[in-house]
Amino acid sequence: MRGLAVFISDIRNCKSKEAEIKRINKELANIRSKFKGDKTLDGYQKKKYVCKLLFIFLLGHDIDFGHMEAVNLLSSNKYTEKQIGYLFISVLISASSDLMKLVIQCIRNDLVSRNPIHITLALQCVANIGSREMAESLSIDIPSLLVSGDTIDSVKQSAALTLLRLLRTAPELQMGEWTSRIIHLLNDQHMGVVTSAASLIEALVKKNPEEYKGCVSLAVSRLSRIVTSSYTDLQDYTYYFVPAPWLSVKLLRLLQNYPPPEDPSVRTRLTECLETILNKAQEPPKSKKVQHSNAKNAVLFEAINLIIHMDSDPNLLVRACNQLGQFLQHKETNLRYLALESMCLLATSEFSHEAVKKHQDTVITALKTERDVSVRQRAVDLLYAMCDRTNAEEIVGEMLEYLETADYSIREEMVLKVAILAEKYAVDYTWYVDVILNLIRIAGDYVSEEVWYRVIQIVINRDDVQGYAAKTVFEALQAPACHENMVKVGGYILGEFGNLIAGDPRSSPIVQFQLLHSKYHLCSPSTRGLLLSTYIKFINLFPEIKPQIQEILGSKNNMRNPDVELQQRSIEYLQLSSKATADVLATVLEEMPPFPERESSILAKLKKKKPSSVAETAIETTKEHKAMPAAQINSDGQPTLQISSPSSAGSADLLGLDIGGMSAPVDSSSSGGGGQSASDLLVDILGGPVPGGIGGGVGVGTTNGLDSSGLTVGAEENFLKFITKLNGVLYENDLLQIGVKAEYRQNLGRVGLFYGNKTSFQFTQFTTSISCPGQLSTQINVTEKPVDTVMEGGAQVQQMYNIECISEFTEAPILNISFISSGSNQKLHLKLPVSINRFMEATEMNADSFFTRWKALSQPEQECQKIFKATSSQDTELTKAKILGFGSSVLEGIDPNPDNFVSAGVIHTRNQQTGVLIRLEPNKQVEMYRLTVRSTKGSVAQTICEFLETQF
């Protein structure tokens, strides 16, 4: 078409946009007149003009005529005319055009024409437009082409992919009963047909996996034939020495729609294929061309995707991970990018998580040195995915450091990720507070409301971190320039907990107030509103600075502020502070109660922002923590004044004990080592190694085993260990470790249980309950805080029990635990380590009073005596330690025989105190003891005696 060529060079010769438009308009006028003219154009001319119009359209100009002429070309019997007609239609006609009916009629004519090249053109047109109308009108014609015996291969190929396109447009389309035969196309002799059919089959499988299940074994055997063929076998389907890479990848993708094959022989064959692909990756390249390595690695990555999808073969997963590890340092940027991306998935598999972690340093280096931000982004994603309790501090530290120089495009996402990791893996909440404040300091503009809401919520819910948080925000606010988000967090926290640091003259009430108020004028109205609330809370916390605060509230600037919210707060707070009595103020301005548990809104935000990057494992993350107060804190970020009943704060501090050490499960000083495993950490909290004997008899498979009393095997022995100590391991098997830390005062006790998930996967439906057999329910009160039903792999969860001793008791409460681990139901029945001696306070007395009391308790029922053989060392110091651990005193110089031990204590119940006197006489020659216990209550003497007998 010479005319077309001339026209194109004219356009190219145009010096300016205007000249081009002028030339085009001239051409359009010419074509329009030709089409309108009386002289009928022959097919060739029509084709030429239609082609010119197409060219003009592709240059970016609008075309509003010529469609009819193009449709006319479709019915030409000359191939080239038809071909240009179809091209024009494919590119230019919209699916809603009036001409579509006509077009579909022409297509149908060509489809039934029996002329393969016409059929192909028609199919290509359908595949290019793929409208719903086409899907509905041609849903019979096209499938029959695909399965008919006399269709030539190239038409089958086009028919398969055309059908695929129509299925995408109209997934609900029913296309007859041909579908069952379609999977057998995977066996077709013609590789091109298999290649096309594999895509169609995958689409069908996605719709209905069950119906096409038979394709699994066909795909595996086809794949096996390809990967074991030499590159000469497949002739033109070998691409740069790689046999049929496109088909291989399609087959590997098809298999990702199914679980690992059930049939062992198919499964073995598939494993062999995957191993062969991994082996080939280690072979020297057959060509230096990048096409060779790309095609080879394309198959490798798809194989790795399948390995990850099946997630069942640790060997393959670890090999895949090692292979990707090599790519992390490859000179090709593309490979480094893909390796980082694939590793993210491997990090979520329990089998390869540890293997991925080996590459942490390389990934951190990538984060720091990659020149392409999209690669650095992948490194961030991978660090996020590989993070767990063991490496959280290091990874979060590196991410914070990188954040200082990070590209603006990824900062917000990084901030969210750091915030989530810090919360999810915090063992020490002071660290969490530090991380979040650092985030605000480094990237304050990118710290969204969710993030700073969250830190406040956590500080409010965790009383062990409140003092630290107050001190830290106070220090942060002293920076000459600090971010407004810091002012918000600082204002809120000091308003709640400023009293905790007010004892230090450097952060006395007036200093705190002046520091906050120095930021006031630089802040937006919403932050000022928050600060006003802080000020009124200060009036309650620090009555001594009331005049200074009232002066600010009453200043003209506030009382007549144009912002109505600020004005109202100033006036109302001023009135409140001057009218209300101290009691009313204290009630109205009481500390915020704990926030209810909810999913982290930060995580929700990350999911929304980047659904793909929140790996499956991360999704269930933070349930064990408290979630954000979206409803509790006003949507504009202002703290509400919480009027709460006095009891809400009281219950947690029933005993007024300092439980700081108990709330933070791991002492910060011992959590520094990045290499510690989760179980090491669990041991650490107990201050020493787990005694060898514990759980020793409770191996795999016996976790559900019960002894004759209905308790889990070992429960009784483990309970007895706690007769003489407060802290230790109550129970341990391969899945779970339960640690205990307890405190008692008078008739009240608080027992903290630390459940440690020793596996790397989740426990679900984790529930605990307490049952008090027999009379016990009237003798003691046990109240527990429920635990979250999901426990992450490696996680440790704490549960507090408050116990009140109403009257003396002998039995122990039963702790029932049930959960699901890896699909199997686990049940444990243990004795909660609570015994009557725990409510005993040691009593000091001299010999006179001891013997006076001893003699006073001379009724037979007031004494219990036992003579028994020693079961452990009779070492004096050890025995002394056990008696002290039991809860009674060791009274020196009372018994005339220095080898004997005498001891006294008082048991506190709700309404009564019961004295207990103890005498233990060891006979080291025969390794025997005589134990005598006297008490005002015979039953108490009996119980104490029985407990003590087990300990020596």
Binding site: I8, G60, R253, N294, N334, D372, S374, Q377
Partner: protein, 156 residues
Amino acid sequence: MQFMLLFSRQGKLRLQKWFVAHTDKVKKKITRELVTLVLGRKPKMCSFLEWKDLKVVYKRYASLYFCCAIEPEDNELLTLEIIHRYVELLDKYFGSVCELDIIFNFEKAYFMLDEFLLGGEVQETSKKNVLKAIAAQDLLQEEETPQGFFDDHGLG
């Protein structure tokens, strides 16, 4: 694959192939965005980037950029080789293809693409088979065209 774009270093679009339906307005907007994005990237950078919900794979051959948008689960490396195989097909057909060949014979470039990819999926990976199909088309064209003297003389 959702679409493939060919554009020059100056940002002129030379070929566009859409495997999903978009309005012209959307197509133009996407094209503008991607051309700017890809032209802004430095050599040696990664050939893959995330773009909206899709992945973009691009490669430069002389003055032309080939740029494909693929689904998240599609294989990036193999998409690079789809581009390469298409370049090879053009090269073989035109004999050392250059941008001008594609400008002047744009319809051939489209026809060839239809043989190679259909509905966004690879249809025929054998170079021989694709070229055979195109050669058959050319043969028909020669038979059909009345190489008339009254061929438009460049004025048609």
